[in-house]
Amino acid sequence: MTDQVTRPDLAAIQEWLLGTCRDLGLRATGPDDDFFETGGTSLTAIKLIAKAEERYGDGALPPDDLFTQSSMHGIAASIGRNATVTGTPGESRA
């Protein structure tokens, strides 16, 4: 890995996020949907954060961000700010 971090594309994060939330059983379909209003719980939050870190590096989704900016758009933006790997398939974990 180089020190130079290429920010992942926000649209790609959004797509990954919606797919992941659906896999977690949420009813989220668009960027305005809220994580908690579509069925997310504190346990689902732990799962989503772990999945985000798995793909975008440790610290990619700070829990406080998820709990204060819980729309799909807000979550994607947080991952965009905090990602340490671009999350492209095949890239190794940070």
């Binding site: 059983g25 069925g39 732990i46 772990a50």
Partner: protein, 523 residues
């Protein structure tokens, strides 16, 4: 005195599993046992929270300061003190300070609704609140005095030097109550010492490093805090408010945590998402709900035998009542046993007035010094749940758990569900009746039925089915109404309206028909 009758097989099996007597300091209070560790190793680390660290001497001194402050506000032996302190070294200072006064702590969350908190304070007789949120709590509960927990490094005060009877109360936790009123469960000092001395379920000694992560309103915290601190070990506080697997992994490895307790739901989540989180820990205790064999199997494969211990126990029996080391899964095993009683604890499987022989199911009853002296201000409930029976020629005070179980041929206890509608969701113990009671009092609700459904992701969640009086009744309105009365984890995630509640031939709500017609899956 009524007798529990027993055939030879039942008597023999119960005698065998209940030989649990082990030496423990039954004549000492929690502060007296803590003082022994202060004298033994004053400079050892007692509590760690991020960069904050207190030695035994520092923790003792800070607790003396806060104890003096509480005494100046009128706290006397036998008094309850409400405690609302974020997870921090101050939290441990607060708990120890209350105990040093000979008082008992009543932990609560500032986020609980005012009405519920007022009720809890009345029930427990709380008139003093010890907190790190002085501004937030001042004036919110007018008659209560609000006392700050913060201390400065130079502060000092002598130990209050109060002799505390080990039978005196140490704390009160509240659990859900089906009549709409939470049940206050007081626990004595001796209940705590019985839990953490001579422990069969984990190594607790001066080398113990135990993670504290559970809300202190939940009795796992009793083990997490007093387990290490009464042995000269280290209590490591999880640093952030909210859990992140990667941070947990770093904390566990970085501080060399030897024992961690995880609720079943959290354990399963970690196994699914980030099993490397627990790689460094010697003993993983998990319990609170029936275990999933898939997750237990995955944990065994990853961590190996000798690391994983399933624990079981209601709040009324001080945190843990039974344990089961998971070293292998037998072929064809359908559920994980809840195991054998921990030290100084006895377990009985009872059907009517008979002890059950292995293989026969009955209600699980518990006995021993871990038992609560009885719910606060609930004489009728106490007569029903805490009973005295002659067992094998000896009078035994028993707590009826409401859990069903059966002894296996080898004496190991198996769990068979509940006798009532109490449920466990993410470690929280909830009486569905308590939610239903409050819904039923809403003027727009004609009928209601509350149950547990599973989300598409396999998580358990609460669902309420409501027959409304009129169109003005909305799910959001009912949710707001319940949020004023109940903690967030008891407010149903989905509220669905139906024209009527389908009934089974026996006149009970037909849950299956209701779920089918309402399409009550979470999506």
């Amino acid at each position: 005195m009524d007798r529990l009758h027993a055939g030879d097989a039942a008597r023999e099996a119960h005698r065998r599993i209940n030989r649990t007597t082990a030496p423990y300091p039954a004549d000492q209070s929690v502060p007296a046992l803590f003082a022994r560790q202060v004298a033994r190793s004053p400079e050892s680390t007692a509590v760690v929270h991020g960069r904050d660290r207190l030695t035994y001497r520092e923790l003792d001194r800070a607790a003396n300061v806060v104890a003096a402050r509480l005494a100046a506000h009128g706290t006397r032996p036998g008094d309850p003190v409400g405690v609302c302190v974020r997870r921090s070294t101050d939290l441990v200072v607060a708990l120890l300070a209350v105990l040093k006064c000979g008082a008992h702590y009543v932990p609560f969350e500032a986020s609980w609704p005012d009405g519920r908190l007022t009720g809890l304070f009345e029930q427990a007789g709380v008139g003093v609140l010890l907190t790190d949120r002085v501004e937030e709590l001042t004036g919110r509960f007018p008659p209560a005095k609000v006392v700050a927990v913060a201390t400065a490094p130079g502060d000092d005060a002598p130990d209050p030097g109060i002799g505390i009877d080990p039978g005196a109360l140490a704390y009160v936790n509240f659990t859900s109550g089906s009549t709409g009123r939470p049940k206050g469960v007081p626990i004595a000092h001796r209940g705590v010492t019985r839990l953490v001395f001579g422990a069969r379920y984990a190594d607790l000694d001066s080398g113990a490093v135990v993670l504290h992560m559970a809300p202190v309103t939940f009795d796992a915290a009793t083990f997490e805090i007093w387990g290490p601190l009464l042995h000269g070990g280290v209590c490591v506080l999880y640093p952030s408010e909210r859990l992140r697997c990667s941070e947990l992994r770093t904390v566990l490895a970085g501080h060399g945590v030897t024992v961690v307790f995880l609720t079943t739901a959290l354990f399963n989540t970690i196994l699914d998402e980030a099993p490397d989180t627990l790689d460094s820990v010697r003993t993983v205790l998990t319990g609170g709900e029936a275990h999933s064999l898939r997750h237990i199997g995955a944990a065994l494969a990853r961590y190996g035998p000798g690391r994983l211990v399933s624990v079981y126990g209601p709040t009324e029996c001080t945190t843990f009542a039974t344990f089961h080391p998971v070293d292998a899964l037998g072929p064809g095993e359908e559920s994980l046993p809840i195991g054998l009683p921990i030290q100084n604890t006895r377990v009985y499987v009872v059907d009517g007035d008979e002890l059950c022989a292995p293989g026969r199911a009955g209600e699980i009853l518990l006995a021993g010094p871990g038992l609560s002296p009885g719910y606060l201000a609930a004489p009728e409930l106490n007569r029903d749940r805490f009973i005295v029976r002659d067992v094998d020629g000896v009078p035994e005070r028993l707590y009826r758990t409401g859990d069903r179980g059966a002894l296996r041929e080898d004496g190991v206890l198996m769990f068979h569900g509940r006798v009532d509608d109490q449920v466990k969701i993410n470690g929280y113990r909830i009486e569905l009746g308590e939610i239903s009671y409050h819904l039923g009092r809403h003027r727009d609700v004609r009928q209601n039925y509350v149950t547990v459904v599973e989300t598409a992701a396999g998580e358990k969640s609460l669902a309420a089915f409501v027959v409304a009086e009129g169109p003005q009744c909305t799910p959001a309105g009912l949710r707001d109404y319940l949020s004023e009365l109940l903690p967030g984890y008891m407010v149903p995630g989905q509220i669905r309206f139906c024209a009527e509640l389908p009934l089974s031939p026996t006149g009970k709500v037909d849950r299956r028909a209701l779920l089918a017609t309402a399409g009550a899956q979470s999506r």
